[in-house]
Every structure is written in structure tokens, then in C-alpha cells.
Symmetry: C2
Subunit: 253 residues, 2 copies
Amino acid sequence: MIESVKTRRSIRKYKKQEIDPNLLNDLISTASRVSTIGNMQVYSVVITRDSEMKAKLSPAHFNQPMVKDAPVVLTFCADFNRFSKWCEFRDAKPGYANFMSFMNAATDALIFTQNFCTLAEEVRLGICYLGTSIYNPQQIIDILHLPKLVFPVATITLGYPDECPPLVDRLPLEAIVHEEHYCDYTREVIDKLYAYKESLPQNQQFITENNKNTLAQVFTDVRYTKKDNESMSANLFEVLKKQGFLSSADVIG
Amino acid sequence: MIESVKTRRSIRKYKKQEIDPNLLNDLISTASRVSTIGNMQVYSVVITRDSEMKAKLSPAHFNQPMVKDAPVVLTFCADFNRFSKWCEFRDAKPGYANFMSFMNAATDALIFTQNFCTLAEEVRLGICYLGTSIYNPQQIIDILHLPKLVFPVATITLGYPDECPPLVDRLPLEAIVHEEHYCDYTREVIDKLYAYKESLPQNQQFITENNKNTLAQVFTDVRYTKKDNESMSANLFEVLKKQGFLSSADVIG
């Protein structure tokens, strides 16, 4: 099996070394061999190399230092604009200003993103996913001049690794696999599946640092709170609407 | 670069040969090395091998023959149920019954899915993505007993290839890449980017078969219509709500 997939870790510190534009183009081009709905390729990627542009993008990603420090930042977008333009220029009426089309384009864009990441890591580049793209989409849209029917769904920082952090823990296989039917989790099963994660010194430290009683509370009370999720949900809908991905038919009852 | 990525094609015809459960487990386990938001791993996969279960799933995928014919069908799900159960059993109040959390979990699930596909193809298995999971989510939810906060986002049919279809065309690199800013597409640029696709005999044939004037019209009038997209959007919101992924704060204005 592909060795670089087995031993991968997110990289947040990069060497000063630039990335050869030909290599980057080859990686993106090969990544586009990934499956795509109806072969529509409803995605785009914006390449940021310019340091002023990185500085502008940085606040949208909560000033995570990788954005300014990485030689390349890639913003992967769900994109029904190009396809709709093609339709319009070909005497066809595009019907993609709706939520279904956003989900199709987001799916296309995300599997394309991951295909790119695998290829990049296999040539010893390091990547870090920034989940923040959908937290502050409007800022990114403004900075990158994204038109209607284009929406940022993933940001990747990219560069040659200048660190080799330890492999991060993962849940055991049985936590994520269900045979034939979904089998819901009892307390006993949860205890077993999360025992290793909860036993790790770094996770114990998280609890202490955050002055909490359990690791789960670090997530619910500090890192991914109900309040933040709800306000970001409302914002996400607002920006989806503004970008033309919600039609009048999409109103939730 | 990874050769199997360069030469990949979707496979719709499979040999009768079964897939060794240990191999499948290894692939899923290695795939879980993929990036995941906050290391929450908010995804699950349901493995379908049973032929009765495949027959039940088939209509949800518009009876595409791969569902019954493939030795294995995999339904990849956005899953905040397991994580929320863990929180509840650890004296923490989960706040993941909202759209933001759905998008986070869908992102996690989709990049996990693609990582799995790359690994599977590299050991000479063939895969086909079925985009239909989000067209008929309720049927899949019922058949696989998916609880609240679990939502199917991708289905893959998997098996040893019994065909070798030609490589499918892709748009040139410049169609999908933007440097620093998104550069919108003029008619001249669209003409150039779509010239090769439009010149292909199989695409000319699509136009004739469907009695249309342009290839784009095959998409807008037959394959991905406004009417279908809008009714599926409304359905998608309804099922997201039912699965607990829309809160009162998520109502679109």
C-alpha cells in the first residue's frame, strides 16, 4: 500500500524552499483524474504565492501561522460558474443556482482536494488542511474575487516539511466500520473505543490546560462549541445565498 | 507520481471474485490516516456484502447495475452521532445538531472516501462513485438504520475490474487553476477550454442521441435539470432536518 499515506502527518512548518510551478501544475493536473460528477469538473483551485495575498487571507484563517509561512496556499472551490458560463454560451439554460448543485460541486471539489494532497505527499511535500474556509467564507470570497456559484470549501497550505511531528492517534477500525447495518454505540462500546485516545498524555494535558474534567469537554466547551457552530451555520447559509447557491425553492420550512 | 492515479478510470463491471475482508479492513484502516477536523473523525462507513441488502439499496441508486453486481458496496457517512455519544457519556454537552457540523462531517467523510479510493485502486481494485447518495438519502437512511446526526454523503461500488474502459477526457489545467485571483471566463476562453471535449465523437453522439443542438443542452435539459436539482434540494434540506443537522438557528431568511 502507498507508504506515504500510512505515515502521513499534517505539516505546519515549512522550509523556505519554493515549489517548482511545473511540479505544482503536474500535481493539480494529475489530481484532476479523480472521479467527478457527470464529468462536469465543478471545482476550481486558486493558487496563492504572493506574500501580500497570504497576509490578506491570514485573518480569514484565524491567523494560523501556516498561511503566511507556507510557500503556497491553495483554496479549493466548489465551482458551478465555469460550467454555467459554458451552458449560457451554448444556448443551454443552466439550473445550478441551488443547494443540490452546491453539494455536488462541494463533493467534486473535496475529493479533488484529497487526490491532490495524496499526490503532493507522495512527492514529499507537506500539507495542512485548514477547516476555516467555511468559517469565514465571505472574507475569502472578497479577497480572491470569487464570483457567484463559486464557494471556498477547503484550504491547503503546502511546502517542504521543516518538522516531523509524531503520528496522531486514530480510533480503532471498529469505531468507524459498520457491517450491513449501522450499529449504534452503547456506553460500554464508547468506553472501549475511546480508551486509548483518553489515555494519551497529550490528551490528559489538554484537559488540565483547559481546566476541564474530561477530554470531551475540551471539544464541547472550548474547541467546537454549540454557540460558535450555530452562529457559523447562520453565516454559512447567508453566504451560500449571496453566492447564488440557495434558490427560493430551498427555504427550510 | 502514483501511477494508479494517473491511469485510473471508474469501473462499472466487476469479476465475481470476492474481496478479502482483511484487505478491505486494511484499506479502511489506512484510509483513516487522512486529515480530520480536530481529529474528531466524524465519519463512518457501512459495508454491504449481503445480496439482499444490495437489492434493497439498488432503487436508492436509480437501479444502477453496479450496486447489485459489485461484491462490496460502501456507504460513507457524515457522522456526528458517535462523537456526540462520547460527549454525552463524558459529562459534556454536544453542540453538533446544526448545518456547520454537517458540513464539517461531510468534509471529513468525503476526504476519507477519496483516500480509501486511492488506496483501493492502487491494489488494483476498481471503484465507481455513485453521486446518488444525496439524491435519495432517506431510503438509504432507512435501509442502513442510520440514526440522527448520521447522513450518507458518498456511495462506492468496489470489486476487481472486469473491464478497462478508455480514459475519460478532462478539461485542460488552465480551466481549473487561477493564479492569485479568480479570473472569470469570457466566451473566447470558454470556447478554447471546451473545444477538445466538444470535438470528441462520443460527445457528438450524446447530442444526436438526445436530439439536442449542443452538448451543454444534454446536461441542462436531460442529465442535470433545474427542476430535478430544485426538488432534490428541497428534499435534501428536509432529510437533513429529520436527521437533526438543522437547528432552529439555521432557518434561511
